[in-house]
Amino acid sequence: MFIQTIITGLSIGSVYALMAVGYSLVFSVLNFSNFAHGAIITLGAYIAWAVMVHYLQVPFFPALLLSMGGAGILAFLNERIAYSTLRRRRAPSLYLMISAMGVAISLQNLLYATIGAKLYALPPVFAMDVVHIGDLTISKMDIFAFVFSALTIAVLHLILIRTKVGVAIRAAAHDMEMVSVLGVNLDVLVGVLFFLAGSLGGMAGVFMGVKYMVYPSMGWITNKAYIGAVIGGLGSLPGAIVGGLLLGLLEALVSVSSLGGTSLSTYRDVFSFGILVILLIFKPTGFFGRHVEDKL
């Protein structure tokens, strides 16, 4: 059962990780918590629902790409509408965060007001869902999502290492102003950044839709992704991945533990959020974060 729990933890964690990567990507450059990321993930899932179930019967892979593209564009628009003015004005990150919160509240409730609260399921990708190995069961979707997420993150890594825009993004994480002085159009760069983050979010949304279901408040789960990102170190990609996976494992393990006869599963969130607070206090840079010293 222990190994089964580990597998479950990794499966939950991989969703957290995928969401945390997009969130961390934005944080690394713009240094603020993009609370709208959850809403973008939700919209990504709804795009998949619209093309796979509601309007058309598009197969999974094209739908996934459409979702990623659509969510990417939405994230881009989100930046244009809600953050770019603030960014150009060099407003404190607090302002960006509030703006992001506004977008998140607005979009989630827009879904309630238009599409409604009904729950939707995305069609399963594989007919036979589970692989049995001895006593263990692993969902094929989990394996697929895990591998595909890993591949996507690897591609993202390549983009960041090999392409000019990628290098510029990494440079911007350190000094955005200087990057612009080298001729990089920041609007374009930030646009690309949000598109990448949004696409990853769209993918996370589709995977969530297939594994679980699609509904307006599904972005709530990104709270956990933030914790994952903090555990790994805000603004660090490997940190986001490791942090997400660790949080998934932790939650799975806490869920099956008990203390003096009472099952701890009901207190699971106290553990997650408790870890968050403790980590923020003792190691705010997480496991992979960079330490930035303010200069007077």
């Binding site: 059962m1 609260a117 009904k118 729950l119 969530m208 099952s263 599963s265």
Partner: protein, 392 residues
């Protein structure tokens, strides 16, 4: 910049108003004649809207039928319905508005125990009876000290009954020896139904192998289910809404749990089948009524004809019953005065309603001998299995 902002705000507000006008049904020219106003507080939006909308439709049918039969005390009944989003704070405002602004004589709804609790003070201090439709928590109508809440009534059964029915069905009909429970600790309905089931099941000689919980908003229960699996229970009781039930069923089957799934009336939404697919096949749940129940076939036919959709049970039935009950009480009270209405409601005996005969227990404001139906998911449909009227 400032000006642009202001203009934008204004433009958005205007757009929203226009947007809101569209779905708003054009009210028929206000009836000039005097009517008896009945309030309806209902979740027309938000997560409970599926039932709420169906409930509103059914109530409309009931009122029209009563009015067609000459109304009550020579007057027509009029329903004033407001959306409460199943939100406690909203519901309080809605109740106040209904009572103070619209001067309703009684309120039908809410459908949730928590929401009914939330408006308890409002309607009781104003002496306006509330008939909750599907608020199944026993504490809705009874105070902690055992006294009855004077102006709060309900037409549905209560959770201990539901939990007991589920436990007895599991023990006797399914011949289950062991059961596990997975419930939502953040939801009062789920928390209490789980508790009543566990009590009844152990009392009946069964064994609870695992009693696990999650929090509202969670999507992955495989860790808890993994633990449940080790106990190899005969029955897995999932007293949640359809969303969590569907997820839990899918994940449990993926993990190779072979137990029979069971649930409460929170399952009774067609969504369940869409969401859970084959995983939910063969599962049983307790409901207030079933579509196949012969007693209600006329209602269902009429509803389908009128709204071109199947009613989402059980709320429409409960609202319909509540309307009949209220009309009867007003007639017997001969007045719309709150106190007299309360007395009339309390003294209801063997009143024929859609789901049988209604008799009220004045000590608890719960209907007596309210039947519970066991339904099964079979071939992507809910089918009627059995009706419990009392439990041993």
């Amino acid at each position: 910049m400032k000006r642009i902002g202001t203009i934008l705000v204004v433009a958005l507000l205007v757009l929203a108003v226009i947007g809101a006008c569209k779905p708003a049904e054009k009210k028929a020219a206000a009836a000039k004649e005097e009517t008896i106003k009945i309030g309806h507080t209902v979740a027309l939006t938000g997560p409970s809207a599926t039932w709420g909308q169906s409930e509103a439709n059914a109530l409309k049918m009931a009122i029209e039928k009563i009015n067609a039969g000459g109304g009550v005390l020579g007057k027509k009944l009029e329903v004033i319905a407001y959306d409460n989003r199943a939100d406690r704070m909203e519901a309080v405002n809605v109740a106040k508005r209904l009572i103070e602004q619209d001067k309703v004589v009684a309120i039908i709804g809410p459908a949730q125990s928590g929401v009914t609790n939330a408006i308890r003070e409002v309607n009781n201090s104003a002496r306006v009876p509330v008939i909750a439709t599907t608020a199944t928590n026993p504490k809705v109508t009874v105070n902690d000290d055992g006294s009855v809440v004077p102006y709060t009534f309900r037409v549905c059964f209560i959770d201990p009954f539901q939990g007991t029915v589920a436990a007895q069905f599991a023990l006797k009909d399914l011949k289950a020896k062991t059961a596990a429970v997975l419930y939502d600790v953040g939801d009062d309905y789920s928390q209490f139904l789980a508790k009543y089931f566990v009590e009844a099941f152990t009392k009946g000689g069964g064994k609870i192998t695992a009693n696990e919980a999650f929090r509202s908003g969670e999507l992955d229960f495989r860790a808890q289910l993994g633990k449940i699996k080790t106990g190899k229970p005969d029955v897995l009781f999932i007293p949640t809404m359809q969303k969590e039930a569907a997820l839990a069923a899918k994940q449990a089957r993926d993990l190779g749990i072979t137990a029979t799934f069971m649930g409460g009336d929170g399952w009774a939404s067609p969504d369940l089948i869409d969401l859970a697919g084959p995983a939910i096949e063969g599962a049983y749940f307790v409901n207030i009524a079933a579509l196949e129940d012969p007693a209600i076939q006329d209602f269902i036919k009429e509803y389908k004809a009128r709204y071109n959709a199947e009613p989402v049970l059980p709320n429409p039935l409960m609202a319909y019953d509540a309307a009949l009950w209220l009309a009867d009480a007003i007639k017997r009270a001969g007045s719309t005065d709150g106190e007299k209405l309360k007395a009339a409601l309390e003294s209801t005996k063997d009143l024929p309603v859609l789901t049988g005969k209604l008799t009220l227990d004045p000590a608890t404001h719960n209907p007596l001998n309210k039947p519970a139906t066991i339904q099964q998911v079979k071939d992507k449909k809910f089918i009627y299995v059995k009706t419990f009227v009392t439990t041993d």
